[in-house]
Subunit: 155 residues, 2 copies
Amino acid sequence: MKASQLKQTLGAAEQSCRASGARLTEKRRNVLAVLLRAKTPLSAYEIAEQYGRDYGEPIPAMSVYRMLDFLADENLAHKLNSENKYLACAHIACDHSHETPQFLICSRCSKVREIGIKPEVIAALRDTVEGAGYHLLTSQLELDCLCDECGRSAA
Amino acid sequence: MKASQLKQTLGAAEQSCRASGARLTEKRRNVLAVLLRAKTPLSAYEIAEQYGRDYGEPIPAMSVYRMLDFLADENLAHKLNSENKYLACAHIACDHSHETPQFLICSRCSKVREIGIKPEVIAALRDTVEGAGYHLLTSQLELDCLCDECGRSAA
DNA sequence: CTTGATATGATATAATGTAACATAATAATA
DNA sequence: TATTATTATGTTACATTATATCATATCAAG
């Protein structure tokens, strides 16, 4: 993410936290900034390393885990359960309400696209699940994909 | 899984391996049996422990990982990427060809149901993915659910 | 029966994550 | 402001999941 957009996004995050009565401390904001600048999802330990490089002071991985929990609670970051990695929410700046995210994960270059899947498709999924006697709790999907770029170069 | 069904399933696994020219060794078969008897998915280390209890001889976790790789290659077991756990394929005995599995994971009791999602739903998902410029590689879904039982008792 | 390939054992270590307690910073209130 | 309560962060220890590497054992083919 470019510097100008980064600043704006961090501002939006600030506002969003203020609205929910949460404290976006400097370090939490820095962790979010690391995620926003990253081209791919990062592990907690990778975030800690990058934080050290970006801000000149080391941060314990344990703190990163807690800050990621905070950011996830505030819908500012998401965890990719299938990868054990974390990424910034793609919809911090744009207002449109925080629906459950779906992720397209390029298995070649690890680039991730956060999208919204059509309600009909989710509804159909939910129907199938109910039909099997289960109840869908979250519709966060993590799909194993090839991105456009890798798709072309691999073909 | 009941003993009678277990035997039959292991027989089917044997045949399936013979058909593909793979060797279902005793230990691989035992690991599969551990998974078939388990009520929930198990981690590799849990499998190793259970193997020790069931067969009276310890097995190194590293061996279990290799055997799980083998079983996954043969479509006899699956890995739940979101849980880092493994489970037996639900379709070893029944012939119907091995489609990509989808899993309903009860987040309360960890019970997992392997189902097939309607081709239309998968196709719709695939369309959405293509629309975003990505290409769907596998349609293995791992859905965060409540099972019927837990749904009732939690309500 | 011996050679080559495959399977397993053993050891070390990396990567991810949690638990528990200490200290520091902030907020609320007297 | 001083005091106290709450929240945030640091520190240490350790649990869990996974991979890499090399040695040994077992099986299959000639």
